[in-house]
Point group: C2
Chain length 160, copies 2
């Protein structure tokens, strides 16, 4: 299934917007969403908040002891994105695409992502194999998020 | 030559930052730049300002009669991005990736892009064949911009 296409169909049908705030995926998620013709109907503004400073400044993220690669940060990013854009669906990613930057606690291939809507927020953790290339890891991260957004949309579309 | 890698080398060497504000490329330019390991050293914040409203709100773009796909708009986007981020190199894209949205005056495959630094701004126009797919056109757009950014950097790196 082409998740980005299915996401587009639901968003168009519901007249909803989607926004993304990406860290580890670096724009790949936004690029995939905009591969769909007509996506300008439901995409207005996406961000790549790569630095901690950008996360704080644009999304009002306050980092805690868990750092930028954490469930807490992913949650805050998606929520801050909603405050900024008021898009019905706001999606964040934060993780370690490697090949450097990994630690024992947070290895390369770890990502947290969060999907925020007014009445519901879901945050999930992905861990890929850590011997993959940076571009392979970004690709897996972005595709996993698209799948999760699709599932999220299928669950909420009937309710509103 | 892998332009994104060469761009990374120059930026790291000069301790410069780069920011992007994309319309037609939809995040692909940012994604390519962040494919380079260590790119978080020189990338802090990138935007995808897909709607006119986002261009106005985030980048202070005032559209004129030429519309969003124009040299004027590309210039304003890159300049507005500099005001927002103060990155040494600010890059914008605006165009028509198709397959719909083209006109006689502005066919599918037309893009304007602009590179802004404090002392210099260059804006250029690309026209691809218009029978290519949306993803093919995005790919050409992003790669052309990377090449132009590399040339721009080679020209200015010796001066500062």
């Amino acid at each position: 299934m082409d998740y980005k296409e299915e996401i587009g169909k639901i968003l168009r049908d519901k007249k909803w917007k989607i926004s993304t705030a990406e860290s580890c995926t670096g724009g790949l998620l936004s690029s995939k969403l905009t591969d769909i013709s007509g996506s300008s109907e439901y995409i207005t503004l996406n961000l790549i908040t790569y630095s901690n400073e950008a996360k704080q400044r644009m999304l009002n993220v306050t980092l805690n002891q868990d750092g930028a690669v954490s469930e807490y940060c992913a949650c805050q990013m998606a929520k801050g994105l909603y405050e900024l854009t008021h898009s019905e669906i706001c999606v964040s990613t934060t993780g370690i695409a490697g090949p450097t930057g990994g630690t024992l606690q947070k290895p390369v291939g770890l990502m947290y992502a969060s999907i925020f809507s007014k009445d519901r927020q879901e945050t999930f953790k992905i861990q890929t194999k850590s011997n993959l290339s940076r571009t392979e890891i970004k690709e897996i991260f972005a595709n996993e998020v698209l799948k999760k957004v699709y599932i999220f949309l299928k669950e909420v579309e009937g309710k509103y």
